[in-house]
């Protein structure tokens, strides 16, 4: 019940259906817990003998005897003695897969009729006929030689059909450009991508780059297959040439940029990113690339510096909160969090200061406040938190403002286990009364709840809340005083 009631009701009324609410803990979860108790209470009776009908599960959770389990075993004691494996064999209990008995009416032989005669020669006509008995049974057991072309005269469409069936089929006789292109068209019109790629491999080998690119440009389906093929085999050079030829400058740039993912060394990666900056990205992406480079550059400096500080052991913050990981290659927001955590007070001039990061990368106010708040709250630096939201007007009066809304502030503070006094202060700053009441109830800010009820003159709610506070506590006393006050004109 942490959302404003008003909002919710308005929403559900407007959309006319009621969703199940997940945070209705009182009802559903307790019901669930009850069932769980009931089931658990049966354990005593049930757990008397071993779990013979349960599957056996190894420490990693894989059922013993399953293939995944067995592979882990091999990996674990590769080179282990045979005895060990014998034992395993005996331990195997295959209750897991519950396979039907292999006495199948669909025995193998019925599927490979006439095909598996070992050593027997098949007649030429048999080998040539394009009507295999059943294609769902793989064409096994026949020596590859039998698939060989008996004729050089397959038409493009026959050739493509043979390729689809996975038969070895020479393409060498398609030598004229016209023949090659006809072959490609046939492959495309058959829709089998594997065959399209097979023809493209042949074309790549037998045509000059320029001719191949020119022909692919007007055959988009084939072109897409070719691009994917080049990506897969990692022929980056040809891919970049192709994009250049096609004048697809943005893809060219992105494709080049992608390579940085394979560079582990931060210095080298940084240098590589530098080469990306001038590439023909969209204006928007150019800025992102520039930022990427600058960020890594910064991180390298910060990392070197902080590693030094940490190992020197002279800086309190690093002693108290040792770094869990390097900051290299982390996102900007994580870097900002890091700098708010370790370098909050630094002057704007240093590379690691949060303000410097904010300016360099034009981080929006909202994002900055959110991140700084999370970092300072984690350190329980409540004073910094306070300063984050305090603004002074020209008369010198202070006022609290939060670009992210105080309800969020409260949630973040709570997540970092802020004490009630601190929470209370910010809950009070939440403008919407219902939200305020919800948050106060959720985070047990008794004073806020009580005061708000009083201000709302909501006697019923206050009465209800009385039952939730501890007996004999100061809160209870406060509620009683208010309830008995004759000054308040209750609305209910």
């Amino acid at each position: 019940m942490n959302r404003t009631k008003g909002d919710e009701e308005e929403y559900w009324n407007s959309s006319k259906f009621k969703a199940f609410t997940f945070d209705d803990e009182d009802d559903e979860l307790s019901q669930l817990k009850e069932s769980k108790r009931a089931v658990n209470s049966l354990r005593d009776f049930v757990d008397d003998d071993d779990d013979e009908d349960l599957e056996r599960v190894s420490w990693s959770g894989e059922p013993v005897g399953s293939i995944s389990w067995s592979i882990k075993e091999t990996a674990g004691n590769s080179g282990s003695s045979h005895e060990g494996r014998e034992q395993l064999k005996n331990r195997n209990s295959f209750s897991y897969a519950q396979l039907p008995k292999p006495t199948s009416t669909y025995s193998l032989s019925s599927f490979f009729r006439g095909r598996t005669r070992p050593g027997s020669f098949q007649s030429l006509s048999d080998a040539l006929s394009d009507t295999p008995a059943k294609s769902y049974a793989p064409e096994l057991g026949r020596p590859k030689g039998e698939y060989r072309d008996y004729s050089n005269e397959w038409s493009p469409s026959d050739t493509v059909r043979r390729l689809r069936k996975g038969k070895v089929c020479s393409l060498e006789r398609f030598r004229s450009l016209q023949d090659k292109l006809q072959l490609l068209e046939e492959a495309v019109s058959m829709h089998d991508g594997n065959v399209i790629t097979a023809v493209l491999i042949f074309l790549k080998r037998t045509l000059s780059k320029e001719i191949l690119f020119r022909e692919l440009e007007v055959r988009q389906i084939a072109l897409r297959h070719f691009i994917h093929f080049l990506k897969e085999i990692g022929d980056q050079k040809l891919l970049l040439d192709l994009f250049k030829f096609l004048d697809r400058t943005e893809e060219l740039a992105l494709s080049h940029y992608r390579e940085h993912l394979n560079i582990q060394d931060p210095e080298k990666r940084k240098e590589f990113l530098k080469t990306c900056i001038g590439l023909p990205f969209s204006a928007e992406d150019s800025a992102h690339i520039q930022d990427h480079y600058t960020l890594l550059e910064r991180q390298i400096i910060i990392e070197a510096n902080d590693r030094h500080l940490e190992s020197a052991g002279q800086t309190e913050i690093f002693r108290k909160h040792p770094r869990k990981a390097s900051i290299l290659n982390m996102p900007l927001v994580t870097t900002l969090f890091y700098s708010c955590f370790y370098h909050y007070m630094e002057a704007e001039g240093t590379f690691s200061s949060p303000i410097n990061l904010k300016k360099t990368f034009k981080i929006p106010d909202k994002q900055y406040v959110l991140t700084a708040l999370a970092a300072r709250a984690k350190l329980r630096a409540w004073h910094d938190v306070d300063a984050l939201f305090t603004t002074k007007n020209w008369l010198g009066y202070t006022k609290k403002r939060a670009p992210i809304g105080f309800h969020r502030v409260v949630e973040i503070l709570h997540k970092n286990s802020a004490p009630v006094q601190i929470l209370q202060e910010y809950v009070n700053l939440v403008e919407d009364v219902d939200t305020k009441l919800n948050l106060a109830t959720k985070f047990k800010c008794h004073d806020v709840v009580i005061d708000t009820c009083r201000d709302l003159k909501d006697r019923q709610q206050l009465l209800a809340y009385r039952s939730k506070v501890d007996k004999g506590s100061a809160e209870e006393e406060k509620i009683d005083t208010i309830l008995s006050s004759s000054q308040i004109r209750w609305k209910n």
């Binding site: 897991y96 829709h191 594997n194 007007v218 940085h260």
Partner: protein, 617 residues
């Protein structure tokens, strides 16, 4: 509670046959390499393999040790090595390194590569380039249909989504066609075929070609499945991007169901060990709650717990003989139920905790607002805050995509600002992710002029008319306007409900999204099945950008029984979600149909986003 099947519901075909077939084929392949051998298995194939075989079967066929294909040198000392892999370039490089290292050391061994479900020419090319073509023998294991449940077949090819919808690579169409061919061979051809989407159309055409080429031994066969419906994932991204709230979907979103089973950690099992649990119709407790809206699940589980308690309590007044009967006949069943019950209660508890923590209520509220198209500004702010607070990168991305698709793209100002903040929060390299999402049409910017047309006409100038037509095809099939709002109106996807939507007694498929939205994909299927054609849906098809790719194909079949005419095979190309499965199961119960699902993989919003992410988490 838990909708029972209608008494007239048609029987499902027996798909366990597919498992036997796959296993027999594998055994056959293993025997092609006689003698002792070590088997290297690709990680992604391990779970599917576990579903159809086990270690002792492999050992029976002289597999000695099992290894995972990974980037580590192999320690195997066996004289024969067998690799069971997906057709991927990196696997070829791995094998090549291994073989070439052996060669360098002057060692000769026998190598066999088994590609599943098929080999690709690009792989063979790599083997050739690496100089090991001929040193290794290649085979194909056409294991492309794994029955995950009585009504659910998965191809276990999650990469289908990225390969086709991002890269435009049609390499899996043949695999799909082969799978359909296998089904029609075993269960009879499908008399009524429908489809929508470019890939659907291509796969269908390729399959028909296959059927024509094969001898017609099966043609006389009585069809067991009356209808087939093929659908491309990009017809409906919206549904796949929504948070799931039916139990099975929620379990998938929270714990990730992998190949029909889930790993429940200690927080669920309330012990110190994890448990791998198969989730399917055989789990009696699960079967009753899997399609339920999460809010109903608690009530059901407590009821069950009470019943169970009562049944155990019965033993109190028993004499010896009755007790003996009780122990020998009922106890085992009760114990099994008890185990399942406490597991699912544990799972519910864990889901509740997680969802409460992440403010699920507000998230759902935002999603519903996006679906209905009101308070767009507020939703945009919500997403922005999500990003600023560095809440999960996948979640933020998903919400942005949902906003983009429902609104036909983001306004440029918002696009720029959200993108900048995203890069600042989660890392600049996500620039690549944004480029991918834009290409796939998942996250776009509302363009002032139609830039697509500009590129198109520029290219068209270069080529002949015929080729230009093809280019237009290619372009229109990729980035296109989603028109979600218009489609939603046309198909009534946002139900008008007076009063409360009672989730305990669902009135339509919208219940899978708390009554807020009928999944578009399922609505399309419903409408077409009702009409037995696309008639009257022209406008919808146009809005889906699919005028050329919506098709119907009926063969006059006298032998089709009325029962099989109520069996419908739905093929999701690019993945389907558990919410869609639940919605169609519901539709089936309402109309007396039964749906069978064939999907390239089970998917959900997180998987879709991860497939588009350039930086691997």
């Amino acid at each position: 509670m838990a909708f029972p099947l209608r008494p007239d519901a048609p029987e499902l075909p027996d798909f366990s046959m597919l498992k036997r077939l796959a296993r027999d084929q594998l055994i056959y392949l293993l025997e092609q390499l006689p003698g002792k051998k070590d088997l290297f298995i690709e990680a992604d194939l391990m779970s599917p393999l576990d579903r159809i075989a086990n270690v002792s079967i492999l050992k029976q066929h002289e597999v000695d040790k099992l290894y995972k294909v990974e980037n580590k040198p192999a320690l195997s000392s066996n004289e024969q090595l067998c690799f069971l892999v997906r057709p991927r370039i990196k696997n070829m490089r791995y094998i090549a390194n291994l073989v070439n290292a052996d060669k360098l050391a002057g060692r000769t061994r026998k190598y066999k590569v088994i590609f599943s479900p098929q080999k690709f020419y690009a792989c063979e090319m790599v083997l050739e380039e690496e100089g090991i073509y001929g040193d290794v023998s290649c085979d194909e294991w056409a294991f492309s249909l794994l029955p995950l449940d009585v009504d659910l077949l998965s191809m276990e090819l999650p990469e289908f989504f990225r390969d086709y919808f991002l890269e435009g690579d049609q390499r899996w169409t043949n695999t799909v066609a082969q799978a359909l061919h296998l089904l029609s061979t075993l269960y009879g051809s499908f008399p009524n075929c429908y489809g929508v989407g470019r890939c659907a159309r291509m796969s269908y055409e390729l399959w028909r070609k296959l059927e024509e080429e094969e001898d017609s031994e099966t043609k006389g066969r009585r069809p067991e499945i009356g209808h087939i419906f093929l659908l491309d994932r990009d017809m409906d991204f919206v549904t796949a991007l929504c948070s799931q709230v039916v139990y099975e979907g929620l379990v998938d979103d929270t714990f990730r169901i992998k190949c029909g089973s889930v790993d429940f950690g200690p927080e669920v099992t309330s012990s110190d060990k994890s448990l791998k649990v198969l989730l399917n119709a055989e789990d009696k407790v699960f079967n009753e709650i899997r399609n339920e809206h999460f809010s109903n699940v608690f009530g059901f589980l407590s009821q069950k717990a009470r019943n169970l308690q009562a049944q155990y309590d019965r033993r109190r007044g028993m004499d010896i003989k009755q007790m003996k009967n009780f122990v020998s006949q009922e106890l085992k069943g009760l114990k099994q139920e008890h185990r399942l019950l406490s597991l699912h209660i544990g799972a519910c508890e864990s889901i509740m905790k997680k969802k409460t923590k992440q403010d699920f209520q507000e998230l759902i509220k935002t999603e519903h607002a996006l679906l209905e198209g009101f308070n767009i500004r507020e939703s945009t702010n919500y997403i922005e805050e999500h990003i600023d607070r560095q809440v999960s990168p996948i979640e933020s991305l998903r919400l942005m995509c949902l906003l983009s698709i429902t609104e036909n793209g983001l306004i440029p100002k918002d696009y720029r600002s959200l993108k900048t903040q995203y890069l600042q929060s989660y890392g600049p390299e996500h620039l690549l992710t944004f480029s991918n999402l834009r290409r796939a049409g998942l996250l776009t910017e509302q363009a002032p002029g139609d830039t697509l047309t500009a590129v198109e006409s520029k290219v068209s100038k270069l080529v002949t008319d015929k080729a230009a037509g093809k280019i237009t095809d290619a372009f229109s099939s990729l980035a296109k306007r989603s028109n979600f709002r218009a489609i939603s109106k046309k198909l009534n996807l946002i139900p008008r409900v007076d009063g409360e939507y009672d989730l305990k007694v669902p009135r339509d498929m919208a219940y899978v999204f708390s009554g807020a939205y009928v999944p578009l994909s399922c609505r399309i299927i419903e409408q077409v099945l009702e009409r037995r054609s696309w008639q009257g849906l022209d406008e919808v098809v146009r809005l889906l950008n699919c005028s050329e790719f919506a098709f119907t194909d009926m063969t006059k079949e006298d032998k089709t029984s009325s029962e099989s005419l109520r069996l419908i095979l739905v093929v999701f190309l690019g993945g389907c979600t558990f919410s869609e499965i639940s919605a169609l199961r519901f539709l089936g119960r309402e109309k007396g149909y039964r749906f069978i699902f064939l999907t390239t993989a089970i998917t959900n919003s997180a998987r879709l986003m991860e497939a588009m992410s350039e930086v691997k988490a």
